[in-house]
Subunit: 337 residues, 2 copies
DNA sequence: ATCATAATTGACAACGATACCAATATAGAT
DNA sequence: ATCTATATTGGTATCGTTGTCAATTATGAT
């Protein structure tokens, strides 16, 4: 609030204790080759005159910042907050900081945010998904720090990728439903199938169903972002078509839960009349009854590993050779299938 | 990845089109008093040689950055992701960017993160809650940009505060429960009552119950972060005490929903045997059946307003006189009371 | 055509920290 | 005591941009 005069600089600290500016600098950033007495002197002076580091200046000279640009589609869902939590935890104890941007599931927004963030000379970049605009890819090809794409490992990564195989997820659910004896299977997606990775999941799901001689009967792709309400709408639309169905796979748990609640409210027995399966494994799935069958995705771990990879690359310690890190999926069998 | 030679600077742009560096600078940052021809020349050159602004350098000279330091407790809950979404939306179209830190509900972490973030000379600061360490307050007293504390408006704010009255929330629920005829009321909290604002809510709740001649019968404060599971544990503990109860107020919806599911699984009729009420109004409350009675908090709007305030202060346009902005709470009457 | 005013452009010096290299002090070996 | 190797300190230039003020050019009024 009050900001009388200007903030003290290294020069002031140095003058205060009669050493050179560069020595003060070394103390402040824990550089090697500093005697104990010098360190104490400088630290005391800094303390007294209330010196605060100015990273901007340091970054200009040193060329690199301690900022990690993280671009996710949105925070208002169950996936990305967990990823961001994981990233931040992995960065704990380092000087690295997350600079966050939200693309609203739009490649052009992503591009604009990235362009802006690159002007800060970040030390690393974390994006979501493997699909980006051409411009985005071009900008990143000139970027010299580590780049991690999170969530999806089915495809070409720019640098590193940490996530899960969307195809595997689709296959897992397909196999589960068929093994359980369901024969008339439908699919419900949302948001015009954004992001792209949900398409990969659906396509693999459909292909596996065909392989298992139980082809998909029908599907609904809703408009707008996934929500419980939209899941209810999805199952309603599906049932109103009058097609004989015995199981539905939803693009995510929010949709599936919404459908489950719809069924409960309308006395449609799950799974006797219709079986429901979701995707993500959010906490809610396990707590409600009946428990929802779903594929759980290690969201926090994805973020955590992404953060660790960035950190290791920046520290240049034990840089792994691998570029793609698919983490394990787990089918959680509830009572809705 | 490849970063051959160094990135082109303003000097390179200027040299390329034969103007002075400062003129190129003016074009790049849309400064006034630039002729159309100059603008075109410079923009074309910048385009050709692939010039990218270096905000670090600009920030060093200009003293202020376009970074907004945002410190929240955690992303893995239903409150803060919405707030961050709101902040980011409010900042859309400006150059301002969110730099995120997570305190894990710990004042000392908050202090350390803030100390680190201030070295980046942010243009504004957004914190959660009104309770901070002394050091934190001291650091902020020297900070010259806007400071917004989000979530809670019951108390002294450092600069501005946007949120809700925790006391009002407690009172609303107390009045509702009493009006509904409940007489033997209990409370369940978690996380050792972190953050502090949950205490304010509980205290106001208890005080109002006393005023209404229906004092709180008992309460349980659980360890660890709120979750569905812990809510189930809470109601279980409460019921096992064998005390006669007819309603329970939970510190948040996660706990309340967990309790609801526990009751459903154990054939405890809600609200006949016991009524349940939560706090926050997460989407799930309205979709399950029975719908959960709760107080809905305008989380996105809080973030949005906080972002707008910061933006206005930085732009020095229409700075509002008000310092505290309590937003409206809404009691959502479900079927669990 | 002349002058006053406004619009446009440029020169220079910062902003604060750190990389690089040189100078000095200290310790250890003989 | 002398010399070498090492640890510690200091001086200077520089990172890329922009604020300030001065110089130049265009515009309009008389």
């Amino acid at each position: 609030m009050n900001n009388d005069a200007r903030a003290p600089t290294l020069k002031d600290v140095a003058a205060h204790c009669g050493v050179s500016v560069i020595s003060a600098s070394r103390v402040m950033r824990d550089a090697p080759n500093v005697s104990k007495s010098l360190r104490e002197k400088v630290e005391r002076s800094a303390q007294i005159i209330g010196y605060k580091r100015n990273r901007i200046a340091g970054a200009l000279r040193g060329q690199a910042t301690d900022l990690i640009a993280v671009i996710v589609p949105s925070m208002s869902n169950h996936v990305f907050p967990n990823i961001v939590d994981g990233i931040d935890d992995a960065l704990q104890g380092s000087q690295l900081r997350v600079v966050l941007g939200m693309s609203k599931y739009n490649d052009i927004n992503e591009e604009a945010i990235l362009r802006d963030m690159l002007t800060w000379n970040p030390a690393g970049v974390i994006l979501s998904g493997l699909e980006h605009s051409e411009k985005t890819k071009e900008m990143l090809s000139y970027f010299s720090g580590p780049i991690v794409e999170v969530m999806d490992t089915d495809g070409e990564s720019i640098d590193m990728a940490v996530g899960i195989s969307m195809a595997e997820a689709g296959i897992l659910i397909a196999q589960h439903l068929v093994a359980k004896g369901y024969k008339r299977i439908a699919y419900v997606g949302a948001w015009g199938e954004r992001p792209k990775r949900s398409v990969k999941r659906r396509v693999a799901f459909e292909a596996e169903l065909i392989r298992l001689k139980t082809p998909l009967v029908t599907s609904v792709i809703l408009d707008g972002e996934s929500s419980l309400e939209r899941g209810a709408k999805g199952i309603k639309q599906l049932l109103e078509r009058g097609i004989d169905l015995d199981a539905v796979f939803f693009a995510n748990d929010d949709l599936a839960l919404g459908a489950l609640f719809y069924c409960q409210a309308n006395d449609i027995r799950v799974p006797d009349e219709i079986a429901l399966a979701g995707f993500n494994g959010i906490e809610m799935c396990q707590s409600i009854s009946p428990r929802l069958t779903t594929v759980s995705t290690p969201r926090y771990e994805i973020g955590r590993l992404a953060g660790e990879l960035v950190r290791k690359h920046i520290g240049r310690t034990e840089i792994p050779d691998r570029k793609v890190f698919p983490l394990n999926l787990e089918l959680i069998e509830g009572s809705t299938t």
